[in-house]
Symmetry: C2
């Protein structure tokens, strides 16, 4: 259904290099008339002079860019697909099996306490799981642990160079004046409202099937890098960090409070891009830092990891292209800054 | 006094690209005759057939490379120099003052609980120190926290992309057969033995003034990334990880046990090179990941940090060269892998 970026002056300036790049690469986007968005979605583009806008330093929406090929994906459907395929190929899954640590051992053990010793050629041989059970790898171990990467990898002396940061989603019913937004026509071929990104990164994700919206924002400075055991959504975060921006541009949300919410962790790498590498030729392939654009990159990241495990220098990508695996590694890393991110 | 690399076949192969590079750059090194090292330092280069060599998979020393301009520096002398200079320039120092956290606040505060809110333009304004005291920066805050970087930075939502790893040094007296090593002549103009690096990274650092040697090795896979409150040197680490290699090539150490030892933390960045950057234009300049070659790079790292704080894109280096500050940052990072590291 497309991603609709609603840009104020400052946002437009920041978006320009990304838009120019998209144009050069032939990636389709179009500017949407603000009057149309007022009419179809109830957008209030002109906010100058309103007290809330002054307080927050927020300006008028001056441009709306619809990236037509962007959209949403149901992660469960994707996971189900892989699960079914892999099961039919004989892959075994162990659910609800907590990893306690990685087994680091010398390739030529001496049977001495404290192995591996510093001069030994060591490798990661498998994992210890709860109940003091060991699972050994026939060839290599792949650690794709998301937000739990550093917690589980650091005791083995290796790192994902990514860290967990809490993220929250709030669900608001599409009732009252908000119901109209879900009926917005003419913005894409499905006649549903697009995923909409407001200034300061506040997003409004329509869920027509549920009759609701998912709303939120990613906060950075001041939001700890930290793994919480039971991350909880924070009501004040919705009220003070999301709602003021959302209800400024969509006044239908002025009295909207969430009826549901959840929280989890992003797994954020040092440069925001996935990390795929095998430290110290240890037999352990680390795949991490995929949050933010994880699911859309999952196929390519998986192919890079598989290539690394199998000893190939190039990963063959969907569509026939290929990429040196080391581009996602630490040495030889070559990633570009992403533009038009949320 | 130079760094003397004692290389077995595998080590020589790994060292070759670095040596070729040094040659092209005109950096002086020379090959030292192994017979001379046998005579002056008591080196045993031929170990093939010895049980300890077989067990450890260690081979004969086949080449010895003396990097003549490498050497050692007394960190206290350097620190005293800076301390004296800065004090005379009016800089105030606060020793024994524990930082409890960074103050993150909006540039335009509203006086609301929970600030900074996600849409506010926030910055790091200073630090909270013990006793609930705040110290505010007039301009910017520089966080040069070594191994304590992630622990103190992560609660503010930022990271140094470096992690602590324990390192240990053991002190062995130069008595008995070992005394001769300190009297080794003819290897440099000071007539002292060079810092010597054995296969697998075990090092022997002569301390003629103390009549002792500092010995150790850096272990990676299996050594946790972790900050210990009171890191202690481990006797077994010396006995099992250092001594077998040391005493194989220098049999004078066969019965040598340390009379002193200490442990601390390295601050290891994701690519082993220093990190200097200001996340989110927050007014907080992070300087970290300097361990391993820290003190020799301290001048350049300090100049890069000062340039960043003052808003210059280039740092003027000692000797008149200059370097874009972003080369040590996260975006725009451009560092080379170091060769001939210990």
């Amino acid at each position: 259904m497309g991603y609709l970026f609603l840009l104020d002056e400052a946002g437009l300036e920041r978006a320009k290099p990304g838009l120019r790049l998209a144009e050069r690469m032939g990636l389709p986007f179009r500017h949407v008339d603000l009057g149309l968005l007022e009419e179809r979605m109830g957008l209030r583009p002109a906010v100058a002079g309103l007290e809330e806008a002054e307080l927050a330093g927020l300006g008028d929406i001056v441009d709306a860019v619809l990236v037509e090929e962007a959209g949403m994906m149901d992660p469960e459907r994707l996971v189900e697909y892989y699960y079914g395929k892999l099961t039919s190929m004989g892959v075994e899954f162990s659910f609800n099996t907590r990893i306690e640590g990685f087994i680091v051992e010398p390739r030529r053990p001496l049977g001495v306490e404290g192995e591996p010793l510093a001069w030994q050629d060591a490798r990661v041989a498998g994992v210890r799981v709860e109940g003091d059970r060991e699972v050994k790898a026939r060839r290599k171990v792949i650690a794709a642990l998301g937000a739990w990467s550093p917690m589980l990898l650091n005791p083995a002396g290796v790192d994902s160079y990514s860290k967990p940061k809490k993220r929250q989603v709030f669900v608001v019913r599409a009732d009252g004046g908000r119901a109209g937004i879900l009926r917005a026509r003419g913005l894409n071929e499905y006649d549903v409202p697009p995923m909409t990104i407001l200034p300061r990164g506040v997003y409004l994700r329509p869920e027509p099937g549920e009759g609701s919206f998912w709303v939120g924002v990613s906060d950075d400075l001041g939001r700890p890098f930290k793994l919480e055991d039971l991350p909880r959504p924070e009501g004040e975060f919705y009220a003070l960090s999301v709602l003021p921006v959302l209800s400024l541009y969509f006044p239908q949300f002025q009295d909207a409070y969430p009826h549901a919410a959840w929280a989890g962790h992003y797994d954020v790498s040092f440069d925001g891009q996935p990390v795929v590498y095998e430290p110290y030729e240890s037999g352990l392939v680390i795949v991490a830092g995929t949050s933010g654009s994880g699911i859309m990159k999952a196929d390519a990241v998986g192919r890079a990891a598989a290539s690394l495990v199998l000893g190939f220098e190039e990963a063959e990508l969907h569509g026939g292209g290929s990429m040196p695996v080391k581009w996602l590694g630490i040495e030889g890393r070559r990633v570009e800054e992403e533009r038009l991110v949320i």
